[in-house]
């Protein structure tokens, strides 16, 4: 069976890179499930929301929306704001997700921060099917999150182990991917702008509302520096060939 060999090879290549997410999502997922439980929602809600929304921070925000007054338009606007960063991920993945067939809608549906960053920076080994690899990274991450949340929802307030700080595994993952990208690229202006503008925006606007201004400023700067940036990229290419 050529097909099942192809699938299992892709699974075995994808699983190791998702292990940090397993640790992070087990912790954050359980925290979310416990939070839902103490907010008065049964495990059915936790399971369905983690399965269908699959955007960690938005699911925490959604608990507040469900406990407040009924305001669907406000809920929509807040969701668009909290999740606007996914627009950047989509633009970044237009090429990478090309030719993935029936898996593509699921890859896009499951493109949370972690799946995006892993799939974007993936060094897929020779001989491993690309679309199955991307699919398993997304599926495993989705599974960890739903499983963690459901376990948290079932255990509820009985959870008493001290894992404070384990959430840093996500920060560490993003930092590692940032460093990997840095080492791969010859031109660093976009990475530097991303960090600088986001930090300035965070200081100016605070944690709850810094993303949209940061995105607008990043887009503006990258657009204004396009000519210079493409010239430098061409020079770097030429330098490599020489």
């Amino acid at each position: 069976m050529e097909d099942s060999a192809k699938i299992s090879t892709a699974f075995r290549a994808a699983f190791p890179v998702t292990v940090p997410i397993l640790a992070g999502f087990a912790f954050l997922g359980i925290a979310y499930g416990v939070f839902m439980n103490v907010s008065g929602f049964g495990v059915g809600y936790t399971f369905l929301m983690s399965l269908l929304i699959f955007a960690g921070s938005m699911e925490f925000v959604a608990v507040g929306l469900l406990l407040g007054p009924f305001n669907p338009l406000g809920a929509l606007l807040l969701t668009l704001m909290v999740n606007a960063r996914h627009l950047f991920y989509g633009l970044s993945m237009l090429e990478k997700y090309k030719g993935t067939g029936w898996k593509k809608p699921y890859l896009i549906f499951g493109m949370c921060d972690e799946s995006f960053s892993i799939n974007y920076s993936a060094n897929i080994p020779q001989g491993v099917d690309r679309s199955w690899y991307l699919f398993f990274v997304t599926l495993l991450n989705h599974f960890y999150w739903v499983a963690g949340a459901t376990v948290g929802g079932l255990l509820g307030s009985f959870v008493r182990f001290d894992l404070k700080g384990l959430e840093f595994v996500m920060t560490a993952l993003f930092v590692v991917i940032f460093v990997e990208q840095w080492m791969k690229q010859k031109i660093h202006h976009s990475a530097i702008w991303g960090i600088t503008i986001s930090t300035v925006s965070l200081v100016l606007f605070g944690g709850d509302r810094f993303i949209i201004p940061a995105m607008i400023a990043i887009l503006a700067v990258l657009t204004l520096t396009r000519k210079a940036s493409e010239r430098r990229a061409a020079e770097a290419e030429g330098g490599e060939r020489a």
């Binding site: 890179v17 369905l48 929301m49 929304i53 699959f54 938005m58 959604a62 929306l65 469900l66 007054p69 009924f70 669907p72 809920a75 929509l76 969701t79 668009l80 999740n83 960063r85 996914h86 627009l87 950047f88 991920y89 989509g90 633009l91 970044s92 237009l94 090429e95 997700y97 030719g99 896009i108 549906f109 995006f116 960053s117 700080g165 384990l166 840093f168 595994v169 996500m170 920060t171 560490a172 993003f174 930092v175 590692v176 940032f178 460093v179 990997e180 080492m183 976009s190 990475a191 530097i192 702008w193 991303g194 960090i195 986001s198 810094f210 993303i211 990043i218 990258l222 657009t223 990229a233």
Partner: protein, 108 residues
Amino acid sequence: MIMTLGQQIAVIAVVVLGTMATRFLPFLLFPPGRPTPAYIQYLGRVLPAAAIGLLVVYSLKDVNILAGSRGLPELVSVAVVVWLHLWKKNMFLSIAAGTILYMLLIRM
């Protein structure tokens, strides 16, 4: 005031819809069949580095540098992750060491 089941379902559906809109929109606007505008291709090349930078800052957004430990555990742990990764280039080592260090630092 507590919502009815129907209202709860409506709110959850709106959140799902809003999230999916942000994920699907670029793919719907620029389908593979048609040539993607050069400007969008350019953004596709340069945005990822900036987006991952944004993600790093986003994951640290709740750090308060004016109170408590003043962000020192985060600063030290991030620096160790960067240094370890530049040195050993081992993803698991960098992430595990950085996280364990952070968990120790916030307990001191």
